[in-house]
Amino acid sequence: MRKILLFFLIALLINASCLPARAGEAVFFIPQWLPQAQFAGYYTAYEKGFYKARGLEVKILKGGPDFPVSELLADGQADFGTMFLTTAIVKRAQGYKFINIGQMVQRSALMLVAKKSRGIKTPADIQNQSVGLWGAEFAIQPLAFFRQHGLKVKIIPQSSTMNLFLRGGVALASAMWYNEYYQIILAGVNPDELTTFLLSDYGLKFPEDGIYCLESTYQKDPQRAHNFVQASLEGWQYAFSHPEEALDIVMKYANAAQVATNRVHQGWMLARMQDIILPPGSKIPLGCLEEETYLQVARELKKNGLIHMVPDFSRFHIDCRSNCRSGNEK
């Protein structure tokens, strides 16, 4: 009897609804791209021991085009990974049981860039121009933007480089504000020679990077997921308050992966990550995904035929900012 009482007491104390995190077991994490400041928070959390402090033996896998996060998560090679919200919704709609356990990037960094010399200064100037677009999810916002402004454009599939744009092969190009935009700058084009259309400025918020895992992964050990998200958030906060240290960490990983980048570029990227993870004036808490935003994104995806049904938000997102509560409610 006494033992039973004690058990209940302990269970109450440790929040019996969550199973205790299993210490010592490796946790595999995969970012959706090669090592760069886009993932500074995770590398920093790892290097500063924030994961370890929460009893997580995290192993960060090398991401990149050859390692699609959805596949690695699906076949269990990785426990956690980052994906664009759009990607994740599409995958969810396709039947992957991915859940969002932490929304990092609150606003979209996707933009259209044009050279002023081509006479493009306002959205109206884009009419009948050639536009370089990346595939699938990356095209959704620009297409919504064109619809918004009643623009007809000639879409040119855009490669992973900005060379087509730089050589004048397209009038506009897609660019991530934190990456390709600055590549253009670092290829000798001055900011004042460019017109940019940051799509989130046109009501297309489209939150991007979030942390995902399989529903089953979460259910097996919710506390582990919570711990992972919380350590990651701490990592981001640390990276933003110690940018030079964070850059040292990022460059270490980038150099190890032989990523052709440089510190200036990564510095720019980290600063922009802060702009989109903690947008100035935003009321959305770090790591949180709002249903309204989710629905806007999902509707746009549906409109573009990328999904046929909008996955249920309550089953898609679990707020892991605090010690697992929302997850347990389901």
């Binding site: 480089t161 000798g188 052709a260 200036v264």
Partner: protein
């Protein structure tokens, strides 16, 4: 500087000017050498860059030729898949500088059923392999090497990239589009590509060396370093990322010019070391890439720097040497000047004997000569001045001379009213005495007397107003105020009388007659000052009291000092008076005169008692008496009998007229009543009535010639007359 010496100034200004000239020359030399070197180096760097660029271009153009020719062949006629593969394989075999060749067709254009068609021959491990590009994961239509040239419809070199196969091989692909006619329109059919391993270029670029550490590098059209001695930059950094990291907008500006096909010679900081460097850059033909040649400025100007440093060193030594020389020179100039300054100061203090050495530079020598001449002239002038003063001083006292010499006002005409004591002296019977003497004797006689008297007068600080023959007018109490001028005058008079003893002793030795001097002293208020005209002035006293004193003098007998009542009032407590004289002088009220015998107090002088004892004469001695008025004999000759005789006094009995204080001349008579040669001068001191019409007169002798003296002596000793 204001208070610095000539040597300091000279050293400072010459050294400063020389240093300025030297620095200017050095700077000119430095900048001239620099610009010369700059010009040479610009040429060198340009030539070097162009030569290297040419080599690279030749190589790349060789590569370009293959796709260009192949593209032309492709447009000729359709080739079968087999033919194409054989063609590209053969081309690759024959062109070892090419890594891979492809003929990549647009979708469905080679085979309407096939989306992709792109045979690719490449160098595998040791042998040439062929593969067909295009898959869902390799959609070549959307890769730069295909997409850009087809959209732009122009052949071009791709941005360098790392070889897909891994490793550190940097590649670039030259893509040549080929076209076909379709419904009368020319359209892109595909591209022929040739891949080049840029590692070969790297060696070519690395072979460039300029100065010690100068090197060449290659940047792509995006500004990315393709080759650079520092591997960390390659494919990672661009010239713009370096500029951004350094916050160097100028480097960014240069970078923009570089990727736009510009060329130039620019100062930059080395991309790695940050050292101040120079860069020449030139575009590499059709690639859009830029070749840069960079070398540190320090090396560029090392020789100029070294030369300048040496020149600076030599210059500093030169300046130091110059400084020493100037200092020595300046000292040699200033030393005589300092000596001169000291000597001039000494001269100023009255040492006219100082001289300076007449040596050194001509100007210094001349200055020294002038100075020495000045000294001599001053000595001469002072000698003259002393002579003048001394000469002058014979007649006037030092006091007057001093006053005249020292103040300009002293020479001003005009006067002041002063109380002074006047002194008159005169030799008794001098004119008559000297009448028979020859002139030279007279001068000797007179000078001996005057010299002594003046000496005494000056000793008592008298101002000698006038010397008229044997008469002297002097006064005390002006210009130098003397409190005790009455006593001083009296004492002086007594001293003068005393001095007469000395003169008479000398005169006697020379056989000259005995001299008797009478002195009158009177105190009164007179006007003193420079009297006369501009040309001739004298410090003199005028006034009634001067005349009064002169009058008193006629009452003084030989050897006597007679003072007036005013003097008496001032000195009565310190003098001994011999006799009183009630004098009735023309134009003056009756006055009592006093014959002074001695003065007490600080002067303490006493006249020698004179033997004035009269003795009755036993024998008969007669004299002729001539009355003298204004030095002229007047009235009848009186023959009188000497009834009593002293050495200088006689009582005579006579008939006729004689008045008291009358001047007389006596001639002793011999037994035959003939006049014995020898004129005795004297003064009647008293006249009394005798028996009947006979009268008796007291006569004091003022001058007795030697021959007469003998007779008188004999008479006094009772000897019979000769």
């Amino acid at each position: 500087m204001k208070n610095s010496g000539l040597a300091t100034r000279l050293t400072f200004f010459i050294l400063a000017s020389t240093a300025v000239i030297f620095v200017l020359a050095l700077a000119y030399n430095y900048y001239f050498s620099r610009s010369t070197i700059m010009a040479e180096v610009t040429t060198d760097a340009r030539n070097l860059a162009l030569a290297t660029g040419n080599k690279i271009e030749t190589l790349l153009q060789g590569v370009e030729k293959i796709p260009r020719s192949l593209a032309a062949i492709m447009e000729e006629r359709p080739y079968s898949r087999k033919e194409l593969v054989r063609l590209i394989k053969r081309l690759l075999v024959n062109n070892p500088e090419i890594y891979g060749i492809s003929t990549s067709f647009a979708p469905f254009t080679f085979d309407p059923k096939s989306y992709y068609f792109a045979p690719y021959a490449y160098r595998g491990l040791g042998k040439i392999k062929v593969t067909f590009l295009g898959s869902n994961t390799y959609r070549y239509f959307f890769l730069d090497w295909y997409q850009i040239p087809t959209i732009l419809q122009t052949p071009l070199w791709s941005e360098p990239y790392y070889d897909e196969g891994g490793g550190n091989i940097i590649m670039s692909t030259f893509s040549q589009p080929f076209y076909r006619e379709r419904e009368g329109k020319k359209e892109v059919w595909g591209v022929v590509t040739a891949d080049v391993n840029l590692m070969g270029l790297k060696d070519l670029v690395a072979a460039v060396s300029i100065y010690q550490s100068g090197y060449a590098f290659l940047i792509s059209q995006n500004g990315i370093f393709v080759t650079h001695p520092d591997k960390r930059l390659i494919m990672r950094e661009s010239i713009f990322s370096v500029a951004a990291a350094r916050h160097d907008p100028e480097l960014r500006r240069i970078g923009r010019d570089m990727i736009r096909g510009g060329h130039g010679f620019m100062p930059v900081n080395d991309f790695v070391s940050g050292k101040k460097s120079w860069m020449y850059y030139t575009p590499l033909g059709s690639t859009g890439w830029t070749l840069g040649v960079i070398f540190p400025e320090a090396e560029l100007f090392a020789n100029v720097q070294r030369l300048s440093e040496r020149l600076m060193f030599i210059g500093l030594i030169g300046l130091a040497f110059l400084g020493v020389v100037i200092t020595l020179l300046a000292r040699s100039i200033t030393k005589p000047l300092r000596t001169l300054a000291r000597s001039t100061a000494a001269l100023g203090h009255g040492d006219f004997s100082v001289t300076v050495p007449e040596s050194g530079a001509r100007e210094t020598r001349q200055l020294a000569q002038s100075f020495n001449a000045l000294g001599e002239q001053l000595t001469e002038y002072m000698a003259k001045r002393d002579f003048i003063r001394d000469t002058f001083g014979r007649y006037v006292t030092q006091e007057v001379v001093k006053r005249l010499l020292e103040s300009e006002e002293g020479l001003a005409l005009g006067g002041e009213t002063r109380e002074v004591t006047l002194l008159f002296s005169d030799l008794r019977g001098f004119t008559a005495l000297t009448a028979d003497m020859d002139p030279e004797q007279v001068i000797t006689f007179l000078n001996r007397y005057l010299e002594k008297m003046i000496e005494v007068l000056l000793e008592y600080r008298a101002v000698i107003d006038e010397i008229m023959g044997d008469g002297i007018l002097a006064f005390f109490g002006a210009p130098e105020p003397l409190e005790d001028h009455p006593a001083r005058a009296v004492a002086c008079a007594l001293a003068m009388q005393e001095a007469m003893e000395e003169i008479n002793a000398l005169n006697a030795a020379d056989g000259l007659p005995l001299l008797e001097m009478g002195i009158a002293v009177n105190t009164g208020t007179v006007v003193v000052g420079n009297i006369g005209s501009e040309r001739r002035t004298k410090y003199s006293a005028v006034g009634a009291d001067v005349n009064f004193a002169a009058r008193i003098e006629s009452y003084a007998l030989g050897g006597q000092v007679v003072i007036g009542p005013f003097t008496y009032q001032r000195v009565k407590d310190m003098i001994e008076v011999g006799s009183f004289i009630q004098a009735q002088m023309k134009g003056f009220p009756e006055a009592t005169l006093y014959e002074v015998r001695a003065i007490h107090g600080p002067f303490n002088l006493r006249l020698q008692e004179r033997r004035e004892i009269l003795q009755p004469l036993k024998g008969d001695l007669r004299v002729n008496i001539y009355r003298i008025q204004n030095k002229i004999i007047t009235g009848p000759t009186i023959t009188a009998e000497i009834i009593q005789l002293g050495e200088n006094v006689a009582v005579v009995r006579f008939t006729g007229e004689l008045a008291a204080w009358e001047d007389v001349r006596l001639h002793l008579l011999d037994a035959d009543n003939l006049e014995i040669p020898g004129k005795i001068y004297g003064k009647v001191t008293a006249v009394a009535a005798g028996e009947g019409d006979l009268r008796e007169a007291h006569i004091s002798f003022t001058s007795v010639p030697p021959e007469s003296r003998t007779i008188i002596q004999a008479a006094l000793e009772g000897e019979p007359q000769a």
